[in-house]
Every structure is written in structure tokens, then in C-alpha cells.
């Protein structure tokens, strides 16, 4: 004798979600993505920029740095699929990237201010402040990167130049 039969039944049964048969597995990057590789970003704010790949993060993104002084790309996450890995590599042995993880890049929780009429017509938005920690980290990472970059002639200029397709370029035939 289990429970007493309920007095009231739902007219329609609550929907039960199907049990998923997918399992999340650790990301396997293509062989050309090795830390220290120069990548070409294909999409986003920095499309066309050539950038140094530092580390693979847990949310399946790549940690990347311009270096900032060279081309304006900060320490940033980038999707591995929107990137071309070139055959040029920079040694990142001396660069410490252990402190960078997904929480480091988590979005700030701003308290939602009440929308006022003034805001709708107001052009001037308060300037977004960059945390001092980010600036300091950028400087330290880039210092070691720049030391390595300077060893190869023209590499700094290469990183500051943007990639674009020129007349006569056949992307499927270009070697990167």
C-alpha cells in the first residue's frame, strides 16, 4: 500500500524534457593551433588583425593578445573557428598566462539604472572604465611578448599590418 490516490490530477501532464544523449567532451583544437602561433582574426571588432595566440581557455575560446601596443588588440578571447592559424610562431615560454581563465573575462554585473527620459536623448554615455588590473596584466604579458617579437626582423611590422585579400589572391590556394 503506497500513497493514497491524489484527489486532483492535472488535466494535461507536465512536459518532461527528453534525456539528452550528448556528452560534452574536452575541446580538440586543430594541430595548427599551438600557443605562440600568429593568428589572423576573421570576424569581430578586430577582423583582419594578426595576433599572437597564448592559451586555450575552458569555454573553448582562445586567449589572444595583439600585443596591444602593436595593433590595439588587448588580452581577449576569440573563437577558434573564426581564426586562420599561420605558420609563423613566437616563443611564449617566458609568458605567464596561468592567471587567465573564464572568470577573469566574466562580464561586470552593472546595477540596472532606471531608464530616464534624459538617457534616451543623451548622447554622452559615461566613459567605460578599464580596470587597472587588466591594464597591468596587459603590460606584463606584452613585455615578454615584445621581447620575443623583436628577435625576428619585420615581425612587429607584420603584426601591426592587417590582412586583406588582394586582387589575384585565391584563398583556397594561399598558404598561411
Amino acid at each position: 500500500m503506497s500513497q493514497i490516490a491524489p484527489k486532483w490530477y492535472q488535466s494535461e501532464d507536465a512536459p518532461v524534457a527528453k534525456q539528452t544523449r550528448k556528452t560534452a567532451r574536452p575541446q580538440k583544437l586543430r594541430a595548427s593551433l599551438v600557443p605562440g602561433t600568429v593568428l589572423i582574426l576573421l570576424a569581430g571588432r578586430f577582423r583582419g588583425k594578426r595576433v599572437v595566440y597564448l592559451k586555450n581557455l575552458e569555454d573553448n575560446t582562445l586567449l589572444v593578445s595583439g600585443p596591444f601596443k602593436v595593433n590595439g588588440v588587448p588580452l581577449r578571447r576569440v573563437n577558434a573557428r573564426y581564426v586562420i592559424a599561420t605558420s609563423t610562431q613566437v616563443s611564449v615560454e617566458g609568458v605567464d598566462v596561468s592567471k587567465f581563465n573564464v572568470e577573469y573575462f566574466a562580464r561586470e554585473k552593472t546595477p540596472r539604472s532606471k531608464k530616464s527620459e534624459a538617457d534616451l536623448f543623451n548622447e554622452a554615455q559615461p566613459k567605460k572604465e578599464i580596470k587597472a588590473e587588466r591594464i597591468a596584466d596587459q603590460k606584463s604579458v606584452d613585455a615578454s611578448l615584445l621581447a620575443e617579437i623583436k628577435k625576428t626582423p619585420l615581425l612587429k611590422q607584420y603584426l601591426s599590418a592587417s590582412f586583406s585579400l588582394k586582387n589575384g589572391d585565391r584563398p583556397h590556394l594561399l598558404k598561411f
Binding site: 600568429v38 619585420l154 611590422q157 590582412f163 590556394l173 598558404k175 598561411f176
Partner: protein, 133 residues
């Protein structure tokens, strides 16, 4: 309204035994036997001995002298080395053009950038010299 024309003797590259041919813009071989109007038997030290259509090959100006008809691969290899066909071929402008085209296709993105910079430097030097003259 008269134009002078000179008659020159014909100087064709013949389909003959020993004619060095280029296959598919990369492999060298010699004609070892002529099968019929359209096909020849070719063989090279680095090319599999085979019958091939004349439409698929290009005659080069180099000839391997005194190649007996139907010569087997070992003979071809020996005579090829003795005549230094590879050296003669590499010295031609044709081979150099093919090599540079291949090198250009293999350039990495960074190498392409380096070429850009070098071309700019050359352009600048030339224009400076021209402006000075």
C-alpha cells in the same frame, strides 16, 4: 608599300628518340619509342615508364643524344646522368620560371609580407634614382 620578309629555315622541336619532354609542368622524361601518330613511350629517372599521349606532354629544346629505340629504364637513367639533363634543364629560363612560380605559391603569410616590404624598398630606390636622373 613593300615589306621585306626573310625566309628562315624551319627550326622545330622534333618528336624523336631522346627528345626530353615535360609532363604536367613538373616531371621530365625522354621519348624512348614512338608508338603511333598520337602516342609515345616515355621514360625518365624520376618518372614511371609509360605510354603517354603527345597531347599531354610538351617538347623541350633538350635532346638526349644517341638513345637506342626502346631503351630500358637503366640505360635511360645512365645516359640521362651522363648528359646531365637535370643540370641543363635547371639552367633554362623555362625551368627557372616554373620554379619561381612554385615558390610563390608556397609562400607563407609572413613571407608574403616580407616580399611586400622588399618590393616597396626596391620601388623607392628605383623612383629615387629616376627622379635624380
Amino acid at each position: 608599300m613593300s615589306s621585306y620578309s626573310t625566309v628562315k629555315a624551319a627550326n622545330w622541336r622534333f618528336v624523336e628518340l631522346g627528345r626530353v619532354v615535360l609532363v604536367d609542368n613538373k616531371d621530365l622524361a625522354t621519348i624512348v619509342e614512338i608508338i603511333d601518330q598520337k602516342r609515345v613511350l616515355v621514360d625518365g629517372p624520376k618518372f614511371q615508364r609509360q605510354a603517354i599521349a603527345l597531347a599531354k606532354i610538351v617538347l623541350t629544346p633538350i635532346v638526349l643524344p644517341n638513345l637506342p629505340r626502346g631503351a630500358r629504364t637503366a640505360t635511360v637513367t645512365k645516359k640521362w646522368a651522363a648528359a646531365d639533363i637535370d643540370g641543363k634543364w635547371a639552367a633554362t629560363a623555362w625551368a627557372k620560371k616554373l620554379a619561381s612560380r612554385e615558390r610563390r605559391a608556397q609562400l607563407s603569410d609572413f613571407e608574403r609580407f616580407q616580399v611586400l616590404v622588399l618590393k616597396k624598398q626596391r620601388r623607392f630606390a628605383v623612383k629615387k634614382a629616376v627622379a635624380k636622373a
